[in-house]
Symmetry: C2
Subunit: 204 residues, 2 copies
DNA sequence: CACGATACATAGCACCGTTATAACCATGGG
DNA sequence: CCCATGGTTATAACGGTGCTATGTATCGTG
């Protein structure tokens, strides 16, 4: 066996890329800048990753893992509807904490040198399972809900909740909303009411 | 007076940029490529626009105008709920017709040399008025709707509908959904039910 | 210990956006 | 009618990008 690659170099690259993306935006992501940042040459990007796009891919996957961990930190209580609300807030908090990274997660990304592959999407959908489970707990707690019993009800409802939250989040980050998350919560709540998981006149 | 700028050159640049963006993606947008495309030098981008970013800005504004025209083409009938559904379908059709352009409209865009300004957002929100008017017609037709009467009900509801549609559209374009628009229609319908514009058990 | 495969550094290629310079040319004033 | 004015345009260059070819250093194995 030949010389082994220094795993700390790869980790440093991912860390530096995520940090530069967060603090200076995608424009700061360049092989030379990264090399300078970690005290190596630009070749490090090509030996440890195939190129710039695979490095960004690793950053995005790490971002999905981070989001999944944040969502898993939301405690599971005996009120699954409150759990769902907390998941939504955690989702928005994660996006606001690092908008560039959040936007990088949801390609196709015009100018980031990264086009998500099918494997990337499968990996990203893993984050989705926490939400599906929470929806399933809501359906279990309320067997009279209209959707309960239909095939893959939890998955389909979770997809709608995710779409609503993601849409409001994207519009907010783009600057089209300026309501401190009011549309975010209103939209996700409206979806929950619409699918029958929340009563028409929620007391909260 | 000196030599006047040829307006056809500016129009050709916007047309070529939109075409290249649609057919080859944002990576094909370069001053040299555009100059070759319209048979001029790269300076054309800088005399007619301030630079690459202002050219993309013009393309995005044209895209918003195109979307607004598409939405305005949806006929106004005596069934405002059907009108809303048709607006949603037109919105999705427009996005699927040119995904790159659609994504370019909703910055902040990582790698496109274009950061939307406040003026751009105001311009983009003009597209929004058609949706707000359709929601208002729904509220007028159903004075018993829960939200009717609250301040700016149409605007707030329209924002939620837009967020839901945009979120489902973005996820679909990113490849996270593969259901031919099922989540798109389900999410927007759920929001309409949630805000009280549609009955719980829509007959359709 | 020596071999060979691999990590890494250097230098270079083709491309990018942008800009300085100079030539061009349509126009308004004399 | 002619000419000076000044924006338009082309050319060339600067610093930057991703990436690759080449050479060297370094490690794991036999």
């Amino acid at each position: 066996m030949p010389r082994a690659a220094d795993p700390t170099v790869a980790a440093s690259l991912v860390e530096a890329a995520a940090r530069l993306l967060a603090t200076e935006g995608p424009a700061a992501l360049s092989t030379r800048r990264l090399a300078r940042e970690i005290g190596a040459s630009t070749m490090a990007v090509y030996t440890h990753f195939g190129g710039m796009d695979d490095l960004v891919r690793a950053v995005v996957r790490a971002a999905f893992d981070h989001l999944a961990a944040e969502l898993d930190r939301v405690p599971v209580t005996d009120d699954p509807l409150t759990d769902l609300a907390q998941l939504g807030l955690a989702y928005r908090r994660n996006a606001l904490a690092d908008p560039h990274l959040y936007l990088a997660m949801f390609g196709p990304h015009p100018d980031l040198p990264y086009q998500p592959t099918e494997a990337d999407r499968v990996h990203g959908l893993r984050t989705f399972t926490t939400l599906v489970q929470a929806v399933q707990r809501c359906l279990d707690a309320d067997p009279l809900a209209p959707a309960a019993g239909t095939p893959d009800a939890a998955g389909r409802i979770a997809a709608q909740v995710w779409a609503a939250a993601h849409g409001a989040m994207t519009l907010e980050l783009a600057g089209f909303l300026d309501d401190d998350g009011a549309t975010f919560t209103a939209t996700t709540l409206a979806v929950l009411v619409g699918v029958g998981l929340l009563p028409d006149n929620p007391s909260q």
